[in-house]
Symmetry: C2
Subunit: 404 residues, 2 copies
C-alpha cells in the first residue's frame, strides 16, 4: 500500500483524488500496490467538499500527517507560499517524498529544497508547477544529461494567453476580455500576478535554472506585463501579419545569458502562433537534440492533477530523477546587452516620441491622439530610459518585443 | 563501467559515439560510472570510418559482442529488418538490454519482443524509432498509466514533410522537389517507403498499439501516400487557406477504432500547420490530461542518436518503464466506418467525375484537362470504390482528407 498525504483540497487536490479513484485498478496492476490518499489537510474541516471521502481522511492538523509513519509521499497543492514552504521542508526533513504544484515556492526556494531532498535521498518533484498538464520538466532533466542547454522559451501563463487570444480574435478591449476571463474563472479577482508577468517570471526562473544549469533567480529576469495593451495595438499587430503572446525566454549569449518576460509580437507562421487560449507551450534548444517543443493545457483540474500524479507514479516506480538536478554553472547576467526590434505605442502625444526614437525608427503608425512605432534593433534598456524621460504613466504606453 | 555493444556504424551509430565522447564527464558525474562503447559491429571491418576509434573496437562478428560478458546494453542501429530482429532476439535471450532505432523491426515484432524483454526483466526500448529526436514514447507510456488514450495523430515522416513544405512554399512540382530532397539526403534513391506512407504506417502502428493498449498491426491501418500530388493540387489547397501534411491517426470511435495514414488538408491556423520541413509532431489525447503535442527534429544524426542515448541512460539509471507496456484491450477495427470530407483531383477527364460524386459534391475546381472537387462528409471506402470504377491509373488522381 502506498499512502499519500494530500495538503490542500482545492481544484487540483480534488482532481488528484478523482483520478486516483478512477485509475485505481490500472495503478495497482502497474505498481503492484494499492495507491490511496490516507489523509487530506484542509483549513476548514467542516466544509462540505462535494465528494465522497472516507471517514477520518480530512484533518486540520498538518502534524497528524507529518507524524503518520504510513504516509511516504506528501502531495502539496495549497496556495500560500510560506506555509507551503514550511510543509515541504518539514516533510522532506521527516523523510517523506514531496510533490508540489506550487510554482511560487519552487521559484523562491528552488536551491534549498532541491539540495535538502538530494541530501535525504528523497524526491522533490514539481512537474505541475510549470506548463500545467504538459510533461516538460522531467523530459528537460533527461535532455540535459545529454545536451548543453542553449535556450528555453515559453508561453507559460494561461490567463494572459486567454486574454491575448480573445483580443486578437474578437478585437475587443483588454478590460472587457479580462472581465470575461474573471467570470469564467480563467483570471483571478486580482489578476496582477498573471497579467503583470510575475507568474510567467516564476516559471521561467524554474526552467532557466534547470536548462542553463546555474542559479537564475526571479531578480535576474527582466519582466513586463500585458495590462496596458489596447485593441488598437492588436489591430496594428494584426496588420503586421502577426499575433502577440506573453513569452518568457532565457538563453546563452556571447556575453552570458539573457532572461526576460515580454509581450512578444510573433509572425502568424511561427511556432508559437497557434498556441491559443489557456494552452501553454515551451520550446527547448539543446546542443545535440536541436529544437523540441512541448504543448498542452496550461491549467485545469484534471490536467494539473494528472501532472502531479505523474510525479507520484515516478516516486512509486522509483524512476524519478535522482540527485540534485540543479547545476553549478557560474552564469553572468547579460540582460543589459539584450537587443531587439520593438513595437512602442504611446497615447496622448506624438511629436516628442518621433524625436526621441528618431535614430531607431523603422515604421510609424498613427491615429488621432495615439502614436505607435516599430524600431530597428535597439537595446531594451535604451527604450525604457527614453520612455521614462517622457514622464508618462505606465498605462499610457505599451511596449512589445518583435521576434523575427 | 557500463559497456555498450553498438550494432551498426552508419549515421546514427556515429552520432551515438560522438555524443558519448562529448558528454563523457557529465555522464560519469550523473551515473557514477564510465559509459563507453566496447564493441561495434560493422559489415566491412576495413572501411575507413572517418573517426577516431580505439584499437579492437570494430568487429564483423556479432557473436563476439553477444558473448562478451562485460557488455550489458546492445544499441541496435543497423537497417536490415530480419537481421536486426535476430540480433535483438539473441541479445535479449542472452540477458542484455536492447535499444533500437529501427521502426521496421519494432513494428513487425512489437508484441513478441516486448514480451520477451518483460519475461527476462530487461529493457527493450525504441524511442528513436518514432519521431526521431522527440521524446515521445516514454512520455506516452507514462501518460497511459493515468489516462485512457483516446487519440494519437502525427506528422511522422520527415521526407514527406520536407517535400510537401517545399511544394507549398515554392509552388514547384513533386518530381522537382523529390530530386532536391534526394540530392540533399532527405530522401532515399528509392523513396517508395517514405512517399507511399509505409514509414508513417509503421510508426503509427507503434504509437497506436501503445496508446489504444491493444494490438493494431500494419495490416489494420489504411494507408495512402503523396506521390501523385501536383503543383495544381497545392495551389487549390492554398486557396482553401490551408496546407497539406501526411498525417497518421488512430483513435477510438463508437464503433471501435480507426487507424489511417492520409495526405491531409489542414487549416493554416491548426496545430500541425507550422510543422515544416523535416520536423515531426505528434498529438496525443488522454482522458485526464487532454491534448498534448510533441514537436522536434524527425531525423538527423545527433537528434536521433540523442534519442537512442536517452534510452541507454534510462537503462543505466534503472528508470526505464518496467514490464510489458503493451495492453490487452480487444480492439475492433472500424476503418470501414471512417467518414471525412475529401479533396479529389482527377486528371484528364471531368464529366464522369461530377456525375460520380454528384450526391457528395461540395465544391468544384477545374482547369483545362483537370478537375478537382471537395466533398461533403462521406465514407472513405465509397470514394475509393467510385474512383476505381473509373479504371484510371494511380498517378492520374490524388485524394486528400480535409480535416476540420
Amino acid at each position: 500500500m502506498i499512502n499519500i498525504g494530500l495538503l490542500g483540497l482545492g481544484t487540483v487536490g480534488k482532481g488528484v483524488v478523482e483520478i486516483l479513484n478512477k485509475r485505481q485498478k490500472e495503478l495497482e496492476d502497474l505498481t503492484g500496490r494499492k495507491v490511496r490518499v490516507k489523509k487530506i489537510l484542509v483549513k476548514n474541516v467542516d466544509k462540505d467538499r462535494g465528494m465522497d471521502l472516507e471517514e477520518g481522511v480530512i484533518t486540520g492538523d498538518f502534524e497528524e500527517i507529518l507524524n503518520d509513519k504510513d504516509i511516504s509521499i506528501i502531495v502539496e497543492v495549497t496556495s500560500d507560499l510560506e506555509e507551503s514552504y514550511t510543509y515541504i521542508k518539514k516533510s522532506l526533513s521527516a523523510g517523506k517524498h514531496v510533490v508540489t504544484a506550487n510554482k511560487a515556492v519552487v521559484s523562491k526556494y528552488f536551491e534549498e529544497l532541491s539540495q535538502l531532498a538530494a541530501d535525504k535521498d528523497l524526491a522533490f518533484l514539481y512537474e505541475a508547477s510549470v506548463g500545467g498538464g504538459i510533461p516538460v520538466l522531467k523530459p528537460l532533466k533527461e535532455e540535459l544529461a545529454l545536451n548543453k542547454g542553449i535556450m528555453i522559451q515559453g508561453i507559460l501563463n494561461g490567463t494572459c494567453n486567454y486574454i491575448l487570444t480573445r483580443m486578437v480574435n474578437e478585437g475587443k478591449d483588454y478590460e472587457e476580455i479580462l472581465k470575461i476571463a474573471q467570470d469564467l474563472g480563467y483570471a483571478e479577482a486580482d489578476p496582477t500576478a498573471d497579467v503583470e508577468g510575475e507568474d510567467t517570471l516564476r516559471k521561467l526562473r524554474i526552467l532557466a535554472t534547470l536548462v542553463l544549469q546555474g542559479r537564475i533567480t526571479e531578480e535576474d529576469i527582466l519582466s513586463y506585463g500585458i495590462s496596458s495593451i489596447t485593441s488598437w495595438d492588436i489591430e496594428n499587430i494584426k496588420n503586421m501579419d502577426s499575433t502577440i503572446k506573453l513569452i518568457g525566454e532565457a538563453r546563452l549569449t556571447d556575453e552570458g545569458y539573457i532572461a526576460l518576460v515580454h509581450p512578444t509580437i510573433i509572425r502568424n507562421d511561427s511556432q508559437f502562433a497557434n498556441v491559443d487560449m489557456v494552452f501553454n507551450s515551451i520550446i527547448f534548444r539543446g546542443e545535440n537534440v536541436g529544437e523540441l517543443k512541448f504543448y498542452g493545457p496550461g491549467a485545469g483540474k484534471l490536467p494539473t492533477a494528472n501532472a502531479v500524479l505523474r510525479d507520484v507514479l515516478d516516486i512509486i516506480n522509483d524512476s524519478y530523477w535522482k540527485g540534485n538536478p540543479l547545476g553549478t554553472n557560474k552564469l553572468k547576467n547579460a540582460n543589459h546587452t539584450f537587443r531587439s526590434r520593438y513595437y512602442i505605442r504611446i497615447s496622448g502625444s506624438d511629436k516628442e516620441v518621433l524625436e526621441l526614437f528618431q535614430d531607431a525608427l523603422d515604421d510609424i503608425i498613427s491615429e488621432e491622439g495615439n502614436i505607435a512605432i516599430t524600431t530597428k534593433e535597439v537595446l531594451y534598456k535604451e527604450i525604457l530610459d527614453r520612455i521614462q524621460s517622457l514622464g508618462i504613466d505606465r498605462d499610457q504606453y505599451f511596449i512589445a518585443r518583435i521576434m523575427d
